[in-house]
Structure formats: C-alpha cells, structure tokens
Symmetry: C2
Subunit: 131 residues, 2 copies
DNA sequence: GTAGAAGTTGACATCAATGTCAGGTTCAAG
DNA sequence: CTTGAACCTGACATTGATGTCAACTTCTAC
C-alpha cells in the first residue's frame, strides 16, 4: 500500500511515517519514481511504534527493541543483548511508575468529577463511575 | 520553608517551583527582601502538581483543577463547573487510554526481557516476572 | 496526453516544561 | 561587619516528535 493508506489505516500522519523511516523504524520499497510502498504488516508495526512512543521510549530505543519483539505470526528476529535488557528493565520500571501515577491521577479526576456531579445528575456515565 | 528546602523535599527543581508560581499553581509569601516562603502544605501540593503534569495535563488545566481537589485535611475549596467537568472527563478518558497503552508496552518489554533471560538465569527479579 | 490527486524532499516552526547561566541581592551564622 | 550560601530576575537553550509549507514529481483514471 502507499503512504496515504498506511497513514489512514494506522492513524499516524504521513509526516511521522517518513520520520520513522529516517529513524530506521520502518522500511519501505520504492517505485521507480520514488514513491513508498508498504507491506500489510506495516500497519501493525506502525501501531506498535506509536504505542512505544506513547510509553516514553525514544526512537533509538524503539529501533533496538523492535527486532526483539515477536511478530503476530512468529518468533523474534533477534534476542536482546544483556546491555539492551538492562536498558529495557529501566524503561519497564519507569513505565511501572508512570502507571501508578496515572492511576492516582485518574482517581483524582474521578473524585472531582463525581463531587461536581453530586447534588443531582442522571448522567449514566458518571453514575457508573461512582464507587 | 524556603525554596531550596521545598525543592529538596518535593523532588522538583527550584526552577520549576518558580515556574509553577508564574502559572498560578503555587503561592508563596515573600520576605521583605523578596525571598519566597512556603507553608508545610506546599510539599504535598507540589507533588500533586507533578503527578498531574506526568498525567499529561497542562498548567492551565491543573490551575483550574487544583481548587477542586480536597486537601489532606478537608473539603475542596471549589466545585468543578460543568464546563470543567467536561474537560476533565476528556482528560480522564485520555488517561485511561494511556494506561491501557502503558500496560501493553510493559507487557511487551517483559516478554522481550524474559525471552532474553530464557536459556539461563538465576536473577530473582526476572524469575519473579515469569508467568 | 492530460488533469488532478497523491507523493517527494527540505526547511522551518511548534509546544511547554525544564535546564542553565549571568549578574545582582538577601539571609544567617560567626 | 563580614562572608559565603541561598535566593532573585531575566534571558536563552533544549528536547524530539510532529505540523506546515513550498516547489517539484509521479501516479492514475479518463
């Protein structure tokens, strides 16, 4: 598929897809005229990249990590080196702390929202949030 | 307490504390010479601010949200307006998605780490992570 | 072959919290 | 009073993925 379709299907801008390529995160075939063509599997890959970015990893880490992830269909292409394992463990712990923080923040928001709702509401969404 | 102590105790840089003040997130008394003095409660407040920043809220949202949170000792000073509740609900849902993403990323990292560990390890931490 | 949609590269902008530095002032202990 | 630590303001830098625009080329449907 071409870049426009990949962007649409993955929910990531064309700009970012080209950027991913410069960072070595995403491969593409080129037509004789220079247009990019992607395999079907690119959709999943892009989504995975996005998810890792959202978790606070930078391009370099993602580039090292991607070959060690198993694809939908099989085994990983590489096994993480001890050095990489160390880095990833650090990231894992950071993500763990992030999750803890986010849960706390979510609870705070829920409380503020529910406090405002108290007094009178029939909104099912907020009722559902009540403890 | 003075800014240095607050920075140390809250784990936030002096630079950031001053920034929080310009954003209306943090109040301080001033000595005749212009030095900031903070109440004990500032420590908690700063930590709360940091947590909300980590959850992706910006200064403006945090400024609106803070008066609606209840302090350690009591009731909130304000009740969120319907408009604010809408905004906060949007944030809450975003945070929810963030948590989902982070859990996924954490699992991915765990899998890569464990795959690398397979073959031979006696590291209790990674053994503990095994499913 | 032609028109218009879609693609290309390169450059520059952005966002927002935080780091850093300079030059000056205040505080507190001796 | 002195001295050094701590604090003040203001300015500029950083970070890194992404937005945006310009000028040009390629692709595709007719």
């Amino acid at each position: 598929m071409r870049i426009g379709e990949l962007a649409r299907r993955s929910g990531v801008s064309e700009r970012s897809l080209r950027y991913y390529e410069t960072q070595g995160l995403l491969q593409s075939e080129r037509t004789s005229g220079g247009h990019r063509h992607y395999a079907e599997s690119a959709v999943d890959r892009v989504i995975r990249i996005q998810t890792l970015y959202a978790a606070g990893l930078n391009s370099k880490k993602i580039a090292k990590l991607l070959p060690c992830m198993r694809d939908a269909d099989g085994r990983p292409n590489e096994i993480a080196t001890p050095t990489l394992v160390n880095e990833l463990t650090t990231e894992r712990d950071r993500i763990d702390r992030m999750i803890t923080d986010l849960l706390r923040s979510r609870d705070v928001l829920d409380e503020v929202i529910d406090t405002a709702a108290d007094g009178a509401t029939t909104d099912p969404a907020s009722l559902a949030r009540r403890r």
